[in-house]
Amino acid sequence: MDKSMLGDLDGLPEEDKMRMAAMVDQLQIRDSLRMYNSLVERCFTDCVDTFRRKTLDKQEESCVRRCAEKFLKHSMRVGMRFAELNQGVATPD
């Protein structure tokens, strides 16, 4: 989640602006923590399927690493597209 996504704070009185900014901060913290949890859940579900030992084997560990890296890159790309779509930028097919 990008802060710019959350709209414009100009034109509000100082007191309200501060309160609004605090609200945005709180939402961002909640969103980051949920994103962390959902990333763990997804990569665990995709990569871990055997329970013969209680530690990850090499293959599972590298799958989780790639999954998490990929998800972050994916998320950044979606974020850019989302910003463009929000602003009504036309892009080629």
Partner: protein
Amino acid sequence: MAAKGQPVNVQKEQVNMQKEQMFGLAEKEMEYRVDLFNRLTQTCFSKCIEKRHKEAELNMGENSCIDRCASKYWQVTNLVGQLLGNQPQM
């Protein structure tokens, strides 16, 4: 809590409430946008990214799938929004 105090309290409460409602509305609007972004991200990850995760990089096919998926998801959001706008209730 004096006899005449109640109406003033209620009035003051009303002004506070209008402000609370405005902030509440802004909060819900932001939550909505975050929720939309997260669902788009999760859905397009499921649709475009190979589950075995053999690579840490997004390949060209995945990248263009993501772009198109985001664009189509946005279109569906607008389309459904129009349909909901025409609904008698929601």
